[in-house]
Amino acid sequence: MNIRCFQRNFSAALPPLVPLQLPSPMETHLWYVLPDEVKSWGLLNQYSELLSPCEREGVNRMRGDQLKKRALLARALVRTTIARYQTNSQMNPRSLKFRKNLYGKPEVEWRDEDNFSPLPLQFNLSHTSTMIACGVTVNVPIGIDIEEKQRRTKNNLIAFAQRYFSAYEVKVLTTISDPEVQRQEFIKLWTLKEAYVKALGKGFSAVPFKTFTIRFRETTLRNFHPPGSSVSEASDIIVESFDDPTNPTNNWQFTLLEVAGSHYGAICIKKDRTAGANELMKLTVWKTVPFVEDVCVSGTDAVVDLGRIIEQ
């Protein structure tokens, strides 16, 4: 597949993106696209027009159609997602500029000469061969990671965990007797750890996986909804860092999901300073084919919260 650039007027070629309100503090928006649902060459070519020349070159550099398609959809997803939140005027996804921070984490570069006002958005991307996801927050760092539920590792799980995970995490995994459950918990733990490192934005080597533990912790929630107050047992996901006392780890909130029945997804965001200590992250999830269809899938089977087990 060769990405050819057709000289077409953007506004004539594609319908406008449905505009959206920015997420509030402590709210995350998650957008995902399933590459298998995007089959039209015409649509793919139109997506390619949204990319910068540099991005297009990056896509063409990928070897093989599937990798090229995945790279293309990832860029198209990021651009169209951010463009949705421009409330003043229609933001052309093609006009967005991106750069990398000091450690290589991608971010939007807002410039004065562009015709739209900067948005306080932060985003993070993750992809597998069958899903590409983009998480968006306002003002707070975010990291996301998705993995296919059926993913197998080449190495023995426990050997891998002993090499890369913390001692506590190895212990938790080792005590799981069912190999299938153990594999699933391994994948979930991997996504949580990846999401944390990506949220921190300093790269894998700055926060080696062995230097922090992610685990579930029992908490109690007091529920004041009618008919009266009740006490629920819940499980929080927390991170404990061994060697970074300057970064108090109760600053980070995690969500663990099963998405579209096929993937585990982890989201890590930094708690907003204004948020209450026990304020929970609100999450809204959309399945999208940019310019074609957006479906809000929150509250459906497509999104299952695995991190919060509420028992009454």
């Binding site: 990056g58 070897r63 597998t128 990671d145 080449k154 790269g203």
Partner: protein, 135 residues
């Protein structure tokens, strides 16, 4: 000429390491200054120079075969210049698995901050070939 040579040797002299006993027994067989210097230098550096750095082309072959062994990798794309993510489509978990497989193949641990820099086959080869602990 001898004076220049002597001055040069004095300038180049490394820390003394004891000569093998055999040579010490018979002072007449102690080599002259220059040989002394070279001999000591070789003894001092032998652990690192002779036999412990792997030959680069051997490392390349072994690295290529480790990566080709990965089920999700298309072996025909695995070349020395191949980029793990861009050419072979590996994600972060795959890359860590590759590093682990390389550690097993070469018998030494690759620190996380070094592993992070390995984005192509060539990077891996360079790193491994420059490490005396690699077997």
């Amino acid at each position: 000429m001898a004076a220049v040579r002597g001055a040069l040797i004095k300038h180049l002299r490394v820390n003394a390491t004891p000569l093998p006993l055999l040579l010490l027994r018979n002072p007449k067989t102690i080599p002259n200054g220059l040989f002394n210097l070279t001999f000591n230098a070789i003894r001092r550096f032998s652990d690192e120079v002779m036999g412990s750095f792997l030959d680069k082309s051997e490392v390349t072959d072994r690295v290529l075969s480790v990566v080709k062994n990965f089920q999700k990798v298309d072996p025909s794309k695995v070349t020395p210049n191949a980029h793990l993510q861009k050419d072979l489509g590996l994600d972060s978990l795959d890359t860590v698995e590759v590093v682990m497989a390389l550690e097993e193949e070469f018998g030494f641990e690759i620190p996380d901050n070094e592993a992070d820099k390995i984005s192509t086959i060539n990077h891996a080869v360079e790193f491994i070939a420059s490490h005396p602990q690699a077997k």
